[in-house]
Symmetry: C2
């Protein structure tokens, strides 16, 4: 533990709640496990409500006369009709349409945006672009640390605590709550498919108070401390930057077509490269793979997926699904083999050969 | 463990050698401890030789007609007289002279450079600048993974293994060795003050072979597996990006004056801001602090340093030195209090108040 790997406004609370380990995202601690097993957590998340310290989803604040121009420059998604109060999932690409990040864009004002980022220093990319092109814009990391409340009972819990008006916030929209005399942004979003909200706490010194207020109110809702759950994430087909996608991948092969403006031109760095890829057709695309055998180990290096001894893809995240009672993985699969029910062999890194088949995402 | 936190070409070997934990730097594993205690490792490093997996020192390769221009644009150090074969410590700054990183620059050719980086995505900054300004340059991360051999017996060991010509390589210069039919870059450098080399292995598939060759040759030299040692690093006054410096700091307050061209103008983004800071005079600067009490805990959040109850600085890295038999820390200290022997109080995060005094770096 050193200062370089930053604690969050909630880390003291997270430790008091019995965290068993951390990962590192954006130079910051992300809780990885508490007392419950990942499977217990999975069932709990589907039925109840959890509180997650996701401060590592840092905000890159882009503000100023050229803010809109800079954001559009980084993403192939058309943001021209985005409205204040909206959250937009926006792939960020380079000149070759390689993925730099896949943040959520929050439209705070006409000329003020937050990019709520996955694990790469988007701030440095945005700063470089702005300085290089002489844009009139400031690029900063504000003192904003998201706290997620996820699960089917999140709405009831947060409605009681912060007012029933939060029930009117639509999916991937944000509104505001009062807390400790401050106005705080709350979005209906989160890194699960079980429903819930993220509070973008502005002012880290309120961290413990916010956590404790939710914690106390959560008692009546069987709330537990949690974190992004790998079983739920993979079942839901939620992708992870650094796992399913890197700069080596373009948005189309990762299945992000709907977040790319392919018909209408946009002033985006990699747009020409992306159109070229689109016209040529992609050679591989993300799919699910269901496969047999004992619960598989953690996928820390990509696992080859083969057909007749030939490599046709690689699994980048995998786990045993207690609900589907099979192993599930996310994999790029070559075009000739990407149809549902294609039989494949998976080489998990425990030396086992496992039979399986390709399937659509999300998993059923 | 997930693919997002990348294993290195040496991780299998590191695990076989009994690694006890990892840190994460540049989205990659850095071994943190082996079987020996940090104090045992410290004494060993000072007397013998160690092999360190420092693959996380990723290379940002900048190549093309505008490569020199781009590198100079990022650093306030005058690189106009840098020669092929040189390593230069170059602060990288933004428009406000805030530190983005503090890499080592390797001059590979007139128009080809590597930045061997600390923990931030310099590649994205360089890419952004190049795209924004329309520079003719490619910015990539090559398959290059440094392996360090550190300690007073490093030269003897590597001379035997790769040829005595490596003895002629000067400090912060690089040369070449043959390995497995390939030509590999070797520099006299490393993140310790005990002497040694770093082999910038090009081609990760040679990783295990290189590790094993050095491992075997090291037996006769009492070699152990190691990693940057916190006691040695702090004693030597070696700074760490993310700990002693962030974007909030300028190079002058971090004591990097000699790496900043203050008399001769250079075409660097933050040069005007830096000159302004230089003319106004800095308000604080990095110092050592020697302080009393039991061996201090790990410094995971900055510790206030006070004089007469007033905060005059903050310690960002600290440990007990078994050689000096006192706790040692690195701290920014306000101008009025930065003279050697100034008495201070240190608030370590175990609730203790410790008396101490300011001292010059490196520690005696």
């Amino acid at each position: 533990m050193s200062r370089r790997i930053r604690r969050t406004p909630y880390t003291d609370c997270v430790e008091a709640a019995g965290v068993r380990g951390f990962s590192v995202v954006n130079h910051m601690l992300l809780p990885k496990a508490y007392q419950a097993s990942i499977e217990e957590d999975y069932w709990h998340l589907r039925e109840h409500v959890q509180i997650w310290d996701v401060s590592c989803q840092r905000q890159v604040q882009i503000e100023g006369p050229d803010a809109y121009k800079l954001v559009q420059w980084m993403t192939p998604r058309d943001i021209s009709s985005a409205k204040v109060g909206q959250c937009l999932y926006v792939p960020i690409i380079d000149e070759d349409a390689g993925l730099i990040n896949d943040p959520v864009l929050l439209v705070l004002a006409e000329n003020k945006f937050w990019l709520s980022i996955a694990d790469s220093d988007v701030l440095l990319y945005a700063k470089g672009l702005a300085l290089g092109a002489g844009l009139e814009v400031s690029v900063t990391e504000p003192d904003v640390s998201p706290l997620a409340v996820q699960g089917p009972r999140a709405e009831a819990l947060l409605g009681e605590l912060f007012g029933q008006h939060i029930r009117d916030i639509g999916f991937f929209k944000f509104g505001w709550i009062e807390f400790a005399g401050t106005r705080q942004l709350i979005a209906r979003s989160g890194y699960s498919k079980q429903g819930g909200f993220e509070i973008y706490l502005n002012g880290g010194h309120h961290g413990a108070d916010l956590w404790n207020a939710i914690w106390q109110a959560g008692e009546a809702h069987n709330m537990t401390p949690g974190c992004p759950n790998l079983i739920e994430r993979i079942e839901a087909g939620l992708l992870s930057y650094g796992n399913e996608m890197t700069r080596e991948n373009n948005p189309l092969e990762i299945g992000l077509d709907e977040y790319c403006s392919l018909d209408k031109p946009v002033e985006c760095i990699g747009h020409d490269a992306l159109l070229k890829i689109s016209r040529a057709g992609i050679d591989r695309q993300i799919r699910g793979v269901l496969f047999d055998g004992d619960p598989c180990p953690a996928c820390s290096i990509p696992w080859p997926v083969t057909v007749d001894g030939e490599k046709v893809g690689q699994i980048t995240s995998a786990i045993f699904s207690p609900r589907l009672k099979r192993n599930i993985g996310l994999s790029l699969i070559d075009r000739a083999y990407w149809e549902t029910d294609q039989s494949v062999t998976v080489y998990s890194n425990d030396g086992q050969l496992r039979t399986g088949e390709v399937t659509a995402l999300p998993f059923a």
